[in-house]
């Protein structure tokens, strides 16, 4: 994307309503809610338990179930990203089983 230089004064003048005209009254108060639990599981297969114990700390099954078929190299990169970038506490020894499982359930058919 190239930077777009806009005449700022023009833009602001046309857009933002001064306070005298804006009269929307919003009452802010205490709010308490409850989030639902996921009721979706993962398909059976070798490595499923390893995936459940490692990956579900951060996200529910929907993260995996909605993914398209992706090649093994992509799944390896995803697991690496989850560990290195998002600091998922996954032991080295668990990585191959996770990649194998994801490739089995979400690999090219």
């Amino acid at each position: 994307m190239t930077a777009k230089i806009l005449p700022i004064a023009l833009v602001v003048g046309a857009l933002v309503l001064p306070s005298a005209q804006a009269k929307t009254r919003i009452v802010l108060k205490a709010v308490e809610v409850e989030f639902p639990q996921s009721d979706r599981g993962l398909p059976e297969g070798p490595g499923r338990e390893v995936v459940l114990s490692n990956c579900f700390t951060c996200h529910s099954a929907g993260m995996i179930l909605t993914q398209p078929p992706l090649p093994k190299a992509t799944w390896e990169a995803e697991v690496t990203k989850m560990r290195n970038v998002y600091k998922a506490q996954v032991d080295d020894k668990d990585v191959p089983a996770i990649v194998e499982y994801l490739t089995a359930v979400k690999g090219p058919k």
Partner: protein, 409 residues
């Protein structure tokens, strides 16, 4: 070019016609469905409809934790404002407060400022109120249509919405704090936290000039009501014309920086190829990536679905929404022959340059057979939607001209 709205195409009449067209176009009432099909190439295309989330109605369930909820597409046919309880939801980390005490909540303003602030919601609401409509669209809206497919939130076209936002300008707050000379960026943080102690907190930055443009808003109102908690209650940053990644939810911390922000969420995540339409070839190397920024123009048909059967020789209203991106909608053109010829549509009421804008036209299939309906938005900078889809490894900024195949019987 100007497109005056004929009296017969006023908003009220648009809505009346919508009812008729809706009956013709949708064979099954969509409200009765418990699953929805998103026609994503290679699948999976089935998604559950959920009503289990607080302050939310029927939403397409992408992921329960951290929540990813998509707006069912038929919602966009109701008008240009997306109802709060149907507005899409997207969180990165699953540690999200489930309660907010409006009396004890504080917004801190700190860093490279003369006077650090700790503001109550009352303090904020005492500042001059501003209000405008703006589209909030996920960077990865429509990611599921990318080919080849890419990992991530596999959205259809419903990770977007338009609301009337009410709040105070970020500038007013920054002016109270007094930005010191030498400040370069302003960084925003919300109450959500990483799941593990070492994960990168979700924080985003804008340039000082952008932050002080008078438009960027701290919003406490959404369509005239409090924000739903999942949309960022009690306070959300609104960055009109820019992708939703900057619209920090549950905003409670503003830090003025005297050096460029190199945190993961600015430097690595949410970056796009610095190429036209953020478009590269899979595997292309030597590409410079920059932080994602302004929205691009898009338009959609909202009252006729792919595969619809229309009556040959019978006129039918065709209607939808468009947005210009970081500027207004100049025109929306319609094609019924797969893009060979185009005709101007009538634009609905102008709710502001950052808003969805409705468009409407009339189409009469001349004979039985197959047709490909298309709409193309051109914005006020004369930027039009491209006729080829873009591709990048994160699935960002899709805005290809949409094609809706139908048949006349």
């Amino acid at each position: 070019m100007e497109y005056a709205m004929p009296a017969a195409l006023s908003r009220r009449n648009l809505l009346c016609q919508a009812g008729v067209a809706g009956l013709a176009a949708f064979a099954a009432p969509s409200w009765a469905q418990s699953v929805v099909n998103l026609p994503l190439p290679g699948g999976p295309d089935e998604r559950q409809i959920t009503t289990a989330f607080p302050q939310k109605g029927r939403m397409i369930l992408q992921r329960t934790r951290a929540p990813l909820l998509e707006t069912p597409f038929e919602v966009f046919d109701k008008g240009v404002f997306t109802p709060n309880d149907e507005f899409f939801v997207r969180w990165h980390w699953s540690v999200i407060p489930t309660s907010i005490d409006a009396d004890t909540f504080r917004l801190n303003v700190r860093g490279h400022v003369e006077r650090p602030l700790s503001l109550t919601l009352r303090n904020i609401q005492a500042l001059p109120q501003i209000e405008y409509a703006a589209v909030n669209q996920c960077s990865g809206n429509s990611r599921g249509f990318f080919e080849p497919r890419v990992p991530g939130g596999e959205w259809g076209n419903g990770a977007m919405g338009n609301a009337l936002w009410t709040g105070v300008s970020l500038k007013a707050v920054l002016d109270r704090a007094g930005i010191k000379a030498g400040a370069v960026q302003v960084r925003f943080n919300g109450l959500d936290e990483p799941t593990g102690k070492d994960g990168p907190d979700f924080i985003k930055s804008l340039s000082v000039d952008h932050a002080r443009d008078g438009e960027v808003m701290l919003a406490y109102g959404m369509n005239g009501e409090r924000l739903p908690l999942l949309n960022g209650y009690p306070l959300r940053l609104v960055v009109p014309g820019w992708y939703a990644t900057y619209w920090i939810k549950m905003l409670n911390d503003i830090e003025v920086l005297d050096s460029p922000d190199t945190n993961f969420w600015m430097k690595t995540a949410y970056t796009i190829p610095d190429t036209p339409h953020a478009d590269i070839k899979p595997g292309q190397t030597g590409v410079t990536f920059v932080p994602i920024n302004e929205l691009n123009p898009r338009s959609f048909i909202t009252n006729i679905k792919a595969g619809a059967k229309l009556a040959a020789g019978e006129p039918v209203p065709v209607r939808g929404i468009a947005f210009g991106g970081d500027t207004g909608v100049k025109r929306v053109d319609f094609s019924s022959d797969g893009g060979k010829t185009w005709q101007a549509t009538h634009l609905g009421a102008d709710e502001g340059k950052y808003s969805f804008r409705q468009w409407v036209t009339r189409f009469t299939p001349p004979a039985k057979g197959d047709y490909t309906l298309m709409v193309r938005c051109t914005n006020d900078r004369d930027e039009a939607q491209p006729d080829q889809p873009n591709w990048n490894p994160s699935g960002f900024m899709r805005n290809v001209i949409e094609a809706t195949p139908i048949s006349a019987v």
